[in-house]
Symmetry: C2
Subunit: 232 residues, 2 copies
């Protein structure tokens, strides 16, 4: 292992607000970042377009966009022909696993990030999961992250040879408002980022899917102007 | 969960000898099998061609071949421009992690199998890993499989809702000779399967890569004629 390997990370970058903040936090600590995004059959391409702009703007070493056809497996409103729910009460989102849940999505994303990290001799993987606003997603909880890290260090050459991987989840216990405040402090331009699950053809955010509602609420609570253009 | 869900499985199918045997063992127990293969930038397509024949012959419910470009990440003799080692001593293969190791490959394959299984309401994933002949691969050991299963049940909706997944590794403690004997007993035609890491353009097995050497030795020890055509 080279001397500086500990400061090299694969950062999962969706093009959304959370992962842009994670990238800014890693860059602020001087970490060399390798951004990883997926073309996984999302309903729209605005998220990936945003990821490209974020990666370029924030000075990543490399941005890899990997094709992965989750649609072939079906099963989620984010990839399949199922309606995205609108105008739900944000307070009630925590009670259930939403139909926007993509089976094992974060598991697959983290696994591929792990493979790339091992090839790059990076020992860190950063992911913007959050147990506060998305507690309904099983793959956004600390217990899952711990289990993934343990598995990663059993199932890789680097792990079993004593160069363990760590999964960094700096947003895990942060409210959306705090995430936004931290990003603003680090100079993130959130106008670059895209959160909406169901945007118009031109990329305009719908303003009423779960993701838009959480985003709006976050900016309001942070007391920061929301740069997003919403349809409503 | 439907009544028969417990007898539905995703089976990772490479086109090789091991996974064909795993599929035969599951079918013999009356399990409905959904075969999953990957076009992951292998050096050749003979493995996938073999997987298709095996899936058709053995009556799977569906055979899904997913594209996944591991080459974009580099790092292994199986996908990148690194020479496959030849004529090694099979007794010494166990001592080290070979350069044919693809970083996190089984982790990624199992993760995608898990996502598909969850969508299908299948609770079993079958994989032909083996700790005897491939002890050099960290992702072929029982400790890794246990860790993966624990992670899977923390990170999926089905897992946290009390419908746990089990990872079946029926070949884990079997020698290659025993695997072959079991497959022959179940009627597997091993002429369909492909093991060689570095075949000729027409698919002819090289006869001297690690995989060919282990295969030859297995047939010899099982006392069964090897239907494979080797170059040498």
């Amino acid at each position: 292992m080279k001397k500086d390997d500990k400061q090299r990370a694969v950062v999962l970058l969706s093009g959304g607000l959370d992962s842009a903040t994670v990238l800014a936090m890693a860059r602020a600590r001087g970490v060399d970042c390798y951004a990883l995004s997926f073309r996984y059959g999302q309903r729209h391409s605005h998220e990936l377009a945003a990821a490209k702009v974020v990666a370029e703007t924030m000075g990543v070493k490399r941005h890899l966009i990997l094709d992965l056809d989750f649609r072939a497996m079906g099963g989620s409103a984010l990839t399949a022909d199922i309606d995205v729910p609108k105008d739900r009460d944000t307070a009630r989102m925590e009670d259930e696993i939403p139909i926007t849940y993509v089976p094992a999505r974060n598991i697959v994303f983290l696994s591929i990030a792990l493979g790339w990290a091992e090839t790059l001799h990076a020992r860190q993987i950063h992911i913007g999961v959050n147990a506060m606003d998305y507690s309904g997603y099983p793959d956004c909880r600390p217990d899952f992250i711990d289990a993934f890290q343990a598995m990663a260090n059993q199932g890789t050459k680097a792990g079993v040879e004593g160069h363990p991987f760590t999964i960094h989840t700096p947003l895990m216990q942060m409210t959306k408002a705090r995430i936004i405040a931290e990003g603003i402090r680090l100079g993130v331009d959130y106008a670059m980022t895209h959160s909406c699950y169901d945007p118009a053809v031109d990329g305009l955010a719908c303003g009423c899917c779960d993701s838009c509602l959480i985003r709006k609420k976050g900016f309001a609570e942070a007391g920061v102007p929301d740069p997003t253009k919403y349809m409503k």
